[in-house]
């Protein structure tokens, strides 16, 4: 498709389990972002990839969170040993390296 896609759309997991969330950016977009949107909260920046540069991890809330981007395209956000406070919608966005970001539909993560 032409837009940013994310999978799964919903994920329910048990506390302590690891989860992987996937993002497929728009073809040709060099920049990729991950955000977290908790209930009643705004959008919280997590991590940013730009081309082959080292990612900007300044928004990751703890070392349980990590992300990688393979081949400059698909990205996976991994949360280890999930906690209930990790429950949120995780949004991915991509851009051509300019300012305008285009968002995917998000993954709703529920940690029981």
């Amino acid at each position: 498709g032409a837009g940013v896609s994310q999978s799964p759309s919903n994920k329910v997991t048990e506390k302590g389990k690891d989860v992987e969330l996937r993002c497929d950016p728009i073809s040709g977009h060099t920049a990729l972002y991950w955000y977290r949107q908790s209930l009643g909260q705004g959008l919280e920046f997590l991590i940013y990839f730009q081309g082959n540069s080292a990612p900007d991890k300044s928004g990751l809330p703890s070392d349980r969170f990590s992300a990688e981007r393979t081949g400059g395209s698909v990205s996976t956000l991994t949360i280890q040993r999930t906690q209930q406070e990790d429950s949120a919608v995780y949004l991915c966005a991509s851009s051509r390296g300019g300012a305008t970001q285009y968002f995917g539909p998000g993954t709703r993560l529920t940690v029981l």
């Binding site: 972002y33 705004g42 305008t100 970001q101 968002f103």
Partner: protein, 112 residues
């Protein structure tokens, strides 16, 4: 400090009425600014953006926004609201060059 503020958490309007959603920014120089809309269970959709030039910006779905330097504002407007406009609206501006910072959002409710 770089910031974007949406003073209204929740706004209710009647269908057919005009709408104005407020966004205030705090930047040293003229920023680029965005409005995004998020329907329930969806990702963020770009409504419009301002980079420079004409301070009145037209967007999709009949929305427009006006950049006012003197008031540090970038308010979103629509002359006649439709029930399908019920959603959450986010204003965003630049943060540390390549990232965006978002306002906390304004939830729009439309009554028939």
């Amino acid at each position: 400090a770089q910031s974007v503020t949406q003073p209204d958490i929740h706004i209710t309007v009647s269908e057919g009425a005009s709408l104005e959603l407020r966004c205030n920014y705090s930047y040293g120089a003229t920023p680029y600014l965005f409005w995004y809309v998020q329907s329930p269970g969806q990702g963020l959709q770009l409504l419009l953006k301002y980079f420079s030039g004409d301070t009145l910006v037209q967007g999709i779905k009949g929305f427009e926004a006006e950049f006012k330097r003197s008031q540090s504002s970038f308010n979103l407007r629509k002359p006649s609201v439709h029930w399908s406009d019920a959603a959450e609206y986010f204003c965003a501006g630049p943060y540390n060059t390549d990232k965006l910072i978002f306002g906390t959002g304004t939830r729009l409710q439309v009554f028939p």
